[in-house]
């Protein structure tokens, strides 16, 4: 027949025309396409923001019974202003200062504050007594709202950790004073006592003086043995106190944490959050597009018309995967570029961004056509894609340490057979040169794309 002759100019392959057709269909539904882009991007940004942002400061009703300017405790010849440390506490909380303990508790009860911190008026004498005599029980009262367990835990952790720091800072200051006084006992110096500067002799000088006095005494003087005992005691005291100073210093800074990273360079939290947000967006877009576009072929009864010699099922699936991957990669790449204005990502590795998102898009697109092939109907395919995507992300993000061994292994297997984890590793590496490198995740993604593409090919047999 004359009309069916082939022309080289139009022999560019049916995939090209299917590509054009799918873009025309998408253009016909701007609202749907807009939703398809905005929804995953918004969801991804929210997830990324939640992961990267530190929790806000809890609202805490704060009452202090200590009068202004009365927060000083004396220690030896020095004074420590413990009210100064309250300001450290306010770095972790959003303090609502109240005039009475009852008002503080009332705010918590009404839900206007998540907790109340009450500092009693006797806190200063209690600390003074503890420091001076070793007897005292300085106590602050923490009242937590028990309605919301998560908020309660959050406020409790924020206040308790900061109180611990304050406690440590006070003890550090006390020890510093104690060490200074010991040094003066050893070496001598000047102290202020009742407004007068008084010179202290110091053990070392005292010993020298006594040794000089012994030398000047007659050999048989009865004072010599007694003074030698004094010199011996001074020597022992000097040696003992010489060891005591560093020992006390070590108590003042009780713990030093040395971090060791075993897994190579780790992803900065912000970059990791961006990677998660971008991959969530990539996943939703690619899955929904590929599943929906393939299911349309069945819903519109066009599949049988296409595969009776116009295009092979394999090429049809390839077109869906490629289109979904391209659209999803472009949107998620734009998203990464925009986010990089606020979060530090390595622009020098931009070509790896493209590689990671392209390969991720292919794997998710292939998973999408497998879903579209199984569902056969657009709404069912979209629902299946949505229902599957959230657990796929979940199993990849659950930390191995958060679950028991058997469940952890199961989650590892699931994370391995779906593309989210590999895509996340590839994106993390592309954004910030982290371990593992690009090769493993990229190969993993391409293998998954081939496997899911094959499953999609089997599934569309049911279309005919």
């Amino acid at each position: 027949m004359s009309g069916s002759s082939t022309n080289a100019a139009t022999d560019a392959g049916p995939v090209r025309w299917l590509f054009v057709k799918d873009l025309q269909i998408l253009r016909r539904s701007p609202l749907l396409v807009g939703l398809l882009v905005v929804y995953p991007v918004a969801l991804a940004l929210m997830i990324g923001f939640a992961i990267s942002s530190p929790p806000g400061k809890p609202k805490v009703a704060f009452y202090s019974g200590v009068a202004p300017g009365k927060g000083r405790i004396s220690f030896g010849n020095q004074q420590i202003d413990i009210s100064r440390y309250a300001s450290q506490l306010f770095q972790s909380i959003q303090a609502i200062k109240v005039r009475s303990p009852a008002a503080a508790i009332d705010l918590v009860r009404k839900g206007d504050a998540q907790a109340a911190l009450i500092v009693p008026p006797d806190i200063v004498p209690q600390v003074q007594s503890l420091v001076t005599n070793g007897v005292g029980n300085p106590t602050v009262q923490l009242v937590l709202n028990s309605k919301d367990p998560l908020e309660r835990q959050f406020a409790d952790q924020a206040i308790s950790s900061r109180l611990g720091e304050v406690e440590q800072a006070v003890s550090k200051q006390v020890l510093r004073v104690a060490i200074g006084d010991l040094q003066q006992v050893l070496n001598g110096g000047t102290i202020n006592f009742a407004g007068q500067n008084v010179r202290l002799l110091g053990l070392k000088v005292s010993r020298s003086i006594v040794e000089g006095a012994i030398a000047s005494l007659p050999r048989r003087s009865p004072l010599r043995p007694a003074l030698r005992q004094v010199v011996g005691f001074a020597g022992l005291a000097i040696a003992g106190l010489g060891f005591a100073s560093p020992a006390l210093g070590s108590i003042a800074t009780p713990l030093t944490v040395e971090q060791t990273q075993l897994a190579g360079r780790t992803t900065p939290t912000d970059a990791y959050a961006v990677a998660i947000a971008v991959i969530v967006s990539l996943m939703l877009l690619a899955l929904l597009l590929a599943a929906g576009l393939l299911a349309i072929e069945r819903s519109e009864n066009a599949y049988t018309r296409l595969v009776r010699g116009l295009v092979t099922p394999g090429r049809l699936l390839t077109e869906k995967i490629a289109l979904a991957a391209a659209c999803a990669a472009v949107v998620s790449l734009l998203m990464a570029v925009l986010v990089s204005l606020f979060v530090s990502l390595e622009w020098a590795r931009f070509e790896l961004w493209v590689l990671a998102l392209g390969c991720g898009g292919l794997a998710f697109g292939a998973l999408g056509v497998a879903i579209g092939g199984l569902a056969r109907e657009v709404s069912a395919a979209s629902l299946m894609a949505l229902l599957l995507s959230l657990p796929v992300a979940f199993v990849a993000l659950v930390p191995a340490s958060a679950v028991s061994g058997g469940v952890g292994t199961l989650l590892d297997v699931l994370a391995f057979v779906f593309p989210f984890k590999a895509a996340l590793q590839a994106a993390s590496n592309a954004f910030s040169a982290t371990s593992p490198g690009m090769l493993g995740p990229v190969v993993h993604l391409l293998v998954l794309a081939a496997v899911f593409g094959g499953l999609g090919r089997l599934a569309v047999r049911r279309f005919a």
Binding site: M1, S2, G3, S4, S5, T6, N7, T10, D11, P14, W17, L18, V20, K21, Q24, I25, R28, S29, I296, E300, N301, A302, T304, R305, L306, V307, R308, G309, L310, V311, A464
Partner: protein, 242 residues
């Protein structure tokens, strides 16, 4: 419109030989053989599940037969499925253009314009298919099947969703094609349509071809005293235990 049987020495435009289709243990088509000749319209009738759609699907290349052979490739036959196989979000012209390109026609745009003329849809070319009536959608459906000017056109219950006026226009169009030499085969449950438009009738029952001849021959086969083909068809089935 052609209503006569082919001449004995005519060369078949399409020949099906011993077509058999099995779905597992079930035999959907059993050794079905027949020919289609240029310019004739052949109606395929039979009870539900007789194998009509299976037969047309195999002839059009949608399904592969378990055994047997067909003298035409799927690309040489026009195929009009029962449900319009169109992209409802695209316009009439976009649908025609897409399939013209996929058919790799020498001049896709000329083929689109020709088909718009032949289906009388020139003024609806830029209208979205979803907004067309069922009759017009079926016209586009048929138009796509005819884009490559196939020598054989296969239609699966083409008038099932059409009102009488739309049916009339569809058959005028198909009759015009047959007049220009296209061999047409269609399946239907509407025996009156076969009586009115088909030159030959094939009766398919339980996957077996029990009769092939003109409507008048079918009437004669059951005694000839019945007034219409539908009555003859029912009696034919009854006499053969169906």
């Amino acid at each position: 419109m052609s209503t006569t049987a082919p001449a004995p020495d005519a060369v078949a435009t399409l020949a099906a030989r011993s077509l058999t289709k099995r779905f597992g243990e079930r035999v959907a088509l059993n050794e079905v053989s027949f020919e289609l000749y240029a310019g004739e319209i052949v109606g395929i009738i039979g009870p539900n599940g007789a194998g009509k759609t299976t037969l047309l699907s195999i002839l059009s290349g949608v399904l592969a037969s378990s055994s047997g052979e067909i003298t035409r490739t799927p690309r040489e036959t026009g195929w009009v499925p029962q449900q319009p196989a169109l992209y409802s979000q695209l316009t009439v012209a976009q649908n025609l253009r897409l399939f013209a390109r996929l058919e790799k026609l020498a001049d896709p745009e000329a083929a689109v314009q020709r088909m718009l003329r032949e289906t009388a849809l020139e003024d609806r070319a830029d209208e979205q298919v979803a907004r067309l009536s069922a009759g017009n959608q079926q016209r586009v459906n048929v138009g796509i099947g005819l884009l490559c000017e196939p020598p054989v056109l296969l239609l699966d219950e083409p008038s099932a969703s059409l009102d009488p006026r739309q049916r009339e226009r569809l058959w005028e169009f198909i009759g015009g094609l047959a007049d220009r030499g296209t061999a047409v085969a269609f399946s239907t449950h509407n025996v009156a349509e076969v009586e009115r438009y088909a030159s030959r009738v094939l009766v398919l029952v339980d996957g077996e071809l029990l009769f092939g001849g003109s409507p008048a021959e079918l009437e004669r086969a059951v005694g000839g005293e019945l007034r219409d083909l539908e009555g003859a068809f029912v009696r034919f089935l009854h006499e053969r235990g169906h």
